[in-house]
Symmetry: D2
Subunit: 340 residues, 4 copies
């Protein structure tokens, strides 16, 4: 950690600051510059509060050198984390595709879509039972009944299921769920993350609309520091000034997350753009930049969808996109939906 | 609502779409343009799902004309909502100042700060017991004990207390709290908002880091649709590309929220910039643009603060800022901290 | 175009507005809604000034239906525009790679780099003679001498040359340049665009740091409306809140530009992230989403580069990236650097 | 300047790097940390190229400590720069108001508006002769004739005139102009800035849509390094995700620019929000946070305006806004439009 001192810092102030830091068990190195002086700190600075340092009168700014994420950091854990879900493995270099409707709407809708995505090659089934909607007047999901239908669809198709949790209080209902999703709006709902850190199930952690990559890593850290090491990142587009797409997919986040962390990376091309015709190109971009999984919204009849109708693929279109994805995986020697 | 049709839309497709809309109880008006046609809809379109419309093949785009927020809309409720807290009223044109430490750290720290802010004219006391921190390794607040200390400080000073809730499960602990704060990261934690809609206490709703003004209004709508009409908005800066300030205070949001809604508006100049020297100018900017309240972080000894040390005012500086604010209120004929 | 009227609009005001619009040669369609009324306009509305309409008291808002770009619009010109440069064609489905140093620094540096990129398969040579630098104290380029060296390198290697213009006054110096680049900071330097519209040379138009895709299309429109139809878009990353990368590459812009326009699309992975290890994945993402060209910074000795040292590839690394790109082109049946 | 070294940096690499830096005349201080080492540099590092350092294999990152702007830096020049224009002084603590139409449209329109703004107390007249418009099909300004009309209006009213330059080639036409404005889209048109650095006239430098405050300071540096020290900053809103306003006025930029620099700060509330009803509150916010000038668009008949009709005030409304501004200046003991 480096502390940059103000021009106006007196010798006395600097000495006091150094004393305090030494008392906290750190070695200090004062460099007196022509115009400005700095203190370099050696030792474990992870528990030092930046804000406290900023409040010292002689301090101009503080720069952390070490990355603040640890358990999710590849430097600490060089090998990829592998997450086994049913017969699938996420993170071993293979590609998994999680597909299904935005919302679970009815048994008929869910089962028809589930069979269709399975037949097209999807390895897991998604479907929203609890839906985060901007308006309280919009469809909020079938909730408990939605989870029951997902379980039934899992039994019928054999596909592991992925669905979103919105409140820690609902956790008991998620026993049969294979991967619990945390939505973008809850990425920094730290109380929820802490609870999810105590369970024994993989968490699909979606990047917040305006969350930095470092903040995404820190949210994984919340879950992992509770003991649950099975976190999958999900890039789903960030909020920018561009309005032609619903969000801006940050394609650079995919290779960067793979470099910085040992955890798997999923990409959601449906929300990233909100435009059906972009799902195929964005899926391919995700695969070639190193994604371990894709999450794609498919609806057996998008025209009648109760949410996100405009960005859900029809099964026939999904099949075409899947053909392209599988061929690309073949070219890249990337196992597609490898079963163990 | 206006539906813009694709160039390629056939008469047949358009007729089918119109039939569906009429079946939903709406009047349709087809306008055939030289290059593009549109359908204008008359009737209550608030329950129509935009996404479903987007999934129709003949639809290019859909534009809502009516604002989606209702209970918070000034058009529906022209008079200002007044919120009584202890002897203070928020929303009647007067100014309230909520002040106190970022985090409650100890009895001594809280009491000393509480007495200081009261003597400088603050009308309410703030202090964080549950702290949303980016890192799981940072100080997370005194939690239950923090709330107990706030209650004690309230008894001692007579100041109503304002503190943040992070999980619905903690609600019982907030009985003695006068205003419950929802933090920026939880502005779209819809399950928490729904629970807060069922209680009988004012909610200070902070704007999310990347939330639009319309989304902030919709989050108030969640609380109000549950029956709790006492919502106070809080502008605290949004996330932009600028890095010299911690956030970018959206000063335009203050008069816009007052125009669009009848609910009171609070401004948090401490988080908006994260720079002590900007607290005074941003507070004055908030007052002259119509804010009903300010929330300012003050710490009796910022150098030892366990969080946000760099943006908390010392009591003596807070007093100077308060002098400026009071004088400005006098000039504007705005009651300062009027007691009923 | 649709005009949404205020609730308070009187019959009289509406009638006057309709008269004015009819006088301008447009057909108007008034739809009287339960809560709000609208006017649909039929006819050529491209010359109507939105701002003027907003100033009418009875108008709440105005929505354009037709896209404001014409000459660059694929609807008006469905076939791809092919741009021939030397023996290369850009826009015919093949891939071209433009490579070379950020800045031309010396004959030795340029020639060594030029030979290296040619041998690795680059089809064109880039190099900055006039450099837009944030600081006036930074190296500003060799200017005229840089252009002379580029010409010499072109003669020696046979590679067409691409370089940036910063001022219309320098245009005479660009006679031997094959593609003139307009930098991101000049994307809305409309006077420069107008001048470039009058010449007979392809223009590589870089997207501005905060330019929307529609604004990029409109800037092409400036050049094309002057008579020069040879415009190549260049996505090079936009400015967002993320700080881990220099910019955020908007990968969705690639397929969207191809859908909306008939003009070719180039991608600059060097500036998009500013991180060497991301050049390969971002290049592949660009190719699979439909890019017609890549522009990559290569320097024979990046450690001694006078600008952008940290994002320029060494020739040996460039060769490896090119191998990957060529193999991917082979898989996609995309001609690599096809010569006519 | 601080250089953070990679974990993998060898002693040899570090020694070589230190040698290179010493050869460049700098003193180096190596701090060997538990996990990471750094080099602190002492001496004039302003000419060191960050990019070159990034290209060294052993370097992880580089942090500048000194601010890169010099001539505009208050540290180098503590006293406010005063700019005299006609009988007005900008920067001495008084307030000037520059008002007039977005575009000069006709003699009648300009003269009527000029007389109206003068009578309401404006101290300078603005009007666009060269107009930067997103679309080439929109009204581009009266150009040379517009400048002639501005001169005539100056003679008639005695008000100094402010108007935008779009190309260095037009400079000769601006002889009678009192303040030359550089538009937001040209803030980093470095060639234009360099030319304006050689003349002897104040420059009103508008902040770019996505320019940081530091970049704005660096653009002033371009002008000042050419010898022209009379630069006035203009905050006019930045581009963010919010769509309810045209731009987001960065009110914090006003006090920050005053702290960091000795140059005067102007605020343009018309473009900052693009909403007429916000001009008054944003003007007051600008005044209380320390602005030296306001630039407000006024049109004698906004309904017929050829550009920006929706954000230009009518003279009667401008008069009301001016009353508020003058009263506020009175309260703040800020001279309003002081004449020397």
């Amino acid at each position: 950690m480096i502390i940059i001192l103000k021009n106006s810092a007196t010798k006395d102030e600097i000495a006091k600051l150094e004393d305090g830091l030494k008392a906290a068990g750190l070695n200090t190195n004062l460099i007196v510059g022509a115009q400005q002086s700095i203190i370099g700190l050696i030792g474990d600075t992870s528990r030092i509060d930046l804000d406290g340092l900023y409040a010292q009168e002689c301090v101009e700014s503080v720069t952390r050198i070490q990355e603040p994420f640890k358990k999710s950091n590849r430097k600490m854990h060089p090998a990829n984390t592998l997450i086994t879900v049913g017969n699938c493995v996420i993170g071993d270099g293979s590609l998994n595709v999680i597909a299904g409707p935005c919302s679970v709407e009815s048994e008929e809708q869910l089962f028809e879509t589930a069979r269709a995505v399975k037949s097209a090659g999807a390895t897991m089934l998604r479907g929203g039972a609890f839906k985060p909607r901007t308006s309280p007047y919009a469809f909020q999901g079938l909730e408990k009944e939605g989870l029951r239908l997902l379980s039934a669809a899992k039994k019928e198709t054999g596909l592991p299921i992925v669905t979103e949790i919105m409140a820690a209080a609902d956790l008991d209902l998620f026993e049969d769920v294979d991967i619990i999703q945390v939505g973008a709006r809850n990425m920094q709902n730290f109380d929820l993350l802490k609870v999810l850190g105590t369970i024994n199930k993989p968490i699909l952690l979606k990047r917040g609309l305006s969350a930095t990559i470092e903040e995404l890593l820190m949210s994984a850290e919340y879950i992992m520091s509770g003991g649950n090491n099975e976190v999958i990142f999900c890039e789903r587009g960030i909020r920018t000034f561009e309005t032609m797409t619903r969000n801006t997919m940050d394609v650079s986040a995919i290779p960067l997350l793979k470099q910085k962390s040992h955890l798997p990376v999923c990409v959601d091309p449906s929300h990233a753009a909100g435009i059906i015709s972009l799902i195929e190109p964005l899926s391919l971009a995700a695969v070639v930049t190193g994604a371990d999984a894709l999450e794609i919204e498919v609806h057996c009849n998008p025209k009648k969808a109760l949410s996100d109708g405009g960005q859900q693929l029809r099964p026939d279109n999904f099949e075409k996109v899947m053909e392209k994805i599988k061929t690309m995986c073949g070219f890249l020697n990337k196992d597609f939906g490898r079963q163990i």
